[in-house]
Symmetry: C2
Subunit: 553 residues, 2 copies
């Protein structure tokens, strides 16, 4: 990442290089943002001259960085020959303009077109087109596009995102990509764009970015904003404090509705996602909420105390994020007050952050089950990804060898009855499937709060019952198939018995493992399936080959 250091020299300091040298160098480094910045400071005539000086390739590259405004100021100074060369690309494929329309419901098809459009534009080196396309897209979708691109193309596209929007885009990216792209920005630009962010987004950035950047962001903010920022950063990321925004609108219970309306009109704008005002007493203790929808329908003469809601209690700043999410879901909240231990109002949580949270959680669970990191870049360098996945494969190898070792104990038996080797995977796999069903059920039950101390015993009985019924059913089926195949009742019997045993143990393991992990504070989704497979494999092979050894030799 050293390559990014040079960027940090501020433009206003006396630079040893001439503009032209700086530009050519920036072009060579592909630092388009820097090029545009330099161009902006130069007189159009000088730029025109520069364009003529450069060799055709550099010239094209530079021209791609000339924005519409500069272009118009530039044209008078350019000779017809040059103008002729550039005439072609300044035009825009008509088809693409269409997607200009629906930046809402119709974005679905676009998303695809946009990726295609951009990759085509990139191949043609038409960075202007890329910039134009990006301009039309919501930051969230820009983030999506960036994540869908391989690293090299990604940083080119990133360099074409307007500096003002980069901050917002960063907030929508997954950690790994966010960090790498933030590093590609000049610190001063990062700081500038961060100033436009809402506090909770900024906190999110600061928490994920490497210290050299995050400290820059923190220092850049001053006064009240700085204080709020630091107080918000003092809470763990996955707590109500980490989710909250520090900008609730407070009103007193004893004032009139009309007065509140006049007060709001003085504020001119409310923070985004403001659906309720917070009612607090003189000491700032939270008392209740006043819905805007109530405010605009209530009689002006009524007092806030007459129309406020008191049914939603303040969320303690220490509440776990997952619990906050469940609250929002259960109580259908749009935003909710966050209070400290003395029930003093210190912030609010808005549903948009909760939605992201829920998405991430479900994402994480799914990825963890396969030993993957949900914040990882799916286009990360092959070597990096390989190393990450190798760990998981290594863990699995241990369990595989454990199973193999069990089989190894019974080599003598296998030599006598080789059919056992043919059938033994069936026992293990049936156990694995049955176990994973119970495991998944319990993991989800824990997440939804359906599985609690109060009813584990009932659940246990059910799972055991189910596994016995299915065990008997499939034991018979498999046994008969085995007999039909090898014409040996002994093998069939042993196979059936082993399956029954393994399914029973699988149910017990599938229930016990997540409960134990949960008790230990380990995420069941992460380690659950590996441990389960180990159990079902070992028990499967042992019971099958063990029984065979006892009964068939």
């Amino acid at each position: 990442m050293h390559s990014t250091q040079p960027d940090n020299n501020h433009l206003d300091e006396l630079s040893p290089l001439t503009d032209i040298e700086q530009i050519t160098q920036a072009l060579a480094d592909g630092k388009n943002k820097r090029v545009r910045k330099l161009l902006a400071r130069m007189h159009p005539a000088k730029v025109a001259a520069l364009l003529e000086m450069l060799d055709p390739e550099q010239r094209q590259a530079l021209w791609q960085q000339v924005d519409a405004a500069l272009e118009t100021r530039l044209r008078p100074h350019m000779n017809l020959d040059l103008l002729g060369q550039f005439a072609v690309d300044s035009g825009d494929a008509p088809g693409s303009e269409a997607s200009d329309a629906g930046q809402g419901g119709r974005t679905a098809p676009d998303a695809v077109n946009q990726l295609a459009d951009i990759r085509i534009a990139l191949e043609g080196g038409k960075l202007k087109r890329v910039g134009k396309i990006l301009l039309r897209i919501h930051p969230a979708k820009v983030a999506g596009l960036l994540e869908s691109l391989p690293p090299t193309e990604r940083s080119t596209v990133w360099s074409m995102v307007e500096t003002e929007r980069t901050g917002k885009v960063l907030t929508y990216l997954h950690d790994e990509i966010r960090i790498s792209l933030a590093r590609q920005l000049e610190v001063e630009d990062l700081v500038a764009t961060a100033q436009r962010l809402e506090l909770d987004d900024l906190v999110d950035l600061i928490q994920t970015l490497p210290s050299e950047l995050s400290s820059a962001l923190l220092q850049s903010s001053t006064g009240r904003r700085r204080e709020q920022l630091e107080s918000m950063l003092s809470y763990p990321e996955d707590s109500a404090g980490g989710l909250m925004d520090a900008d609730p609108i407070e009103v007193r219970a004893n004032v009139k509705v009309g007065t509140v309306l006049r007060y709001l009109r003085l504020l001119e704008t409310l923070p985004s996602h403001t659906d309720i005002l917070m009612v607090v007493d003189r000491k700032g203790h939270y008392q209740g909420t006043l819905r805007l929808s109530t405010l605009v329908t209530a009689e002006l003469g009524l007092r806030v105390s007459d129309v406020m809601q008191t049914d939603i209690a303040g969320i303690s700043v220490h509440t776990e994020a997952t619990e906050v999410a469940r609250l929002f879901q259960d109580l259908d909240l749009l935003s909710a007050p966050v209070v400290d231990d003395d029930n003093r109002l210190i912030g609010r949580i808005t549903v948009d952050d909760v939605v992201d949270l829920i998405r991430q959680d479900s994402d994480r669970a799914m990825m963890q089950m396969a030993g993957l990191d949900d914040e990882a870049d799916i286009f990360a360098p092959v070597l990096v990804s390989s190393r990450r996945r190798a760990v998981w494969l290594g863990i699995n190898l241990l369990t595989a060898f454990l199973a193999a070792w069990v089989i190894g104990r019974f080599q003598a038996t296998l030599e006598h009855v080789v059919a056992l080797a043919v059938l033994m995977p069936i026992v293990a796999s049936m156990g694995g499937v049955a176990g994973s069903q119970t495991l998944t059920l319990v993991i989800r039950g824990l997440a939804l709060g359906q599985v609690q101390k109060g009813n584990i015993r009932i659940l246990l009985n059910r799972e055991v019952g189910i596994s016995i019924l299915n065990g008997l059913l499939w034991a018979v089926v498999v046994a008969l198939l085995a007999v039909a195949w090898f014409g040996d009742w002994g093998i069939g019997g042993v196979l059936g018995a082993a399956i029954l045993i393994n399914l029973l143990c699988a149910a017990l393991a599938g229930l016990a493992i997540p409960l134990i992990l949960d008790r230990l504070g380990i995420d069941p989704a992460l380690a659950g399936s590996v441990i389960l497979t180990t159990v079902t494999d070992v028990i499967g092979f042992f019971s099958f080959l063990g029984l065979a050894t006892v009964l068939l030799l």
Copy 2:
């Protein structure tokens, strides 16, 4: 479910039975709601008399159904002896009152206590306590409690939920439990409580309940509500139309802010989750949105057209639900307009429904991977659950036998080198794990839109690269371990080669399977993992034993 038919006889029709006979029968059937209803119609003196007549057990049961109001009217008519008997249970365990406080932030601990409290109260037959506890809990949490209880206790608790709240509770339940509990209600009660529901909740009910109930619900609603209901029902459940509510507040672009405020004050109340008003032209075409937060801060003299937002396009009524969810997430929407093909405003979608949708989707994906139904009752009768899971086990059995069949082709080889039987599970399991990593990555990539035509080729190269690197790494490791174990370089070599081959094929399969399923319109999360395991098992065993046969014999 025939048992529920008798409920349908309406009370207002002349009943052949006397009140007392009806009550004793209802008590016997455990139809507490019906009992309470009958009691409400009787004169307190008569009830008192009834109480004295009944045998102690029935008396207790009946007393549990006497609510506070009736109790006070009853006392004067009761003899001291009886009063004495009941004095005990009318009192309430003090501890339980505590959980009365925080119906918001502090619900987390409660949830647990509540389940415990209720089960204790049930064992003591203290239905009154149960009713009291339920009264304090938000419908969503009541639903959670019901889902955490085994069927018998569940229906007892259900019978103690106030009729008014049953409708709301139903909307929070998963389909299977929802249906069974709705069946336990008297149709007239179901209809009554349904009238209190918001349209989108009602639609949701009608779509999931069995026809006899849903038709009753539909017919019960009349006039405008009926029309809206039918139009909403005409859209598929998983489309914007199925998610939308038909109650947007419309305003014209040319009216003044002050006028809008006066208009709203005339409405007195706004639909829940109203954060924006919809701006439409004379023909009802959607033009833009006016935020309440803008409305309360804007100058009264300004026109709506001056302060309205036009950046959010109307969501087409045909948009897929998942796409709607992504829109809400990307654009941080609280609610959004739904338009027909002529861009005419026909409804709005609110974020609370989107939150539920996201939760359900993530739930479903996780459950489907284990072949489970996310709408199923985790306390469903053992026999029912067994049958459901048996299907999945059966499917898996096919793949297991396929793998076994492959092994069977090589019995001769296994007889010569029994060590192969010991090691072959390692090849299969390593392949399975590696494949599932790619599979998960792609399934999620498809969901997030990260994986598209535009970049599949790149993804392919990466996955192949990763699998080769990891393949080589673990091939060597495993080979050496095998050599160390069996002191046979041949076996080690074959094992390593097989692992390399299987990991490569696993990566290809993990990438191809979800893409193909997605193309076929099958949910990759559902069938993906089974197919993958089949592939990795078959290829694993075949490559290992095949190579062994060629090279070692």
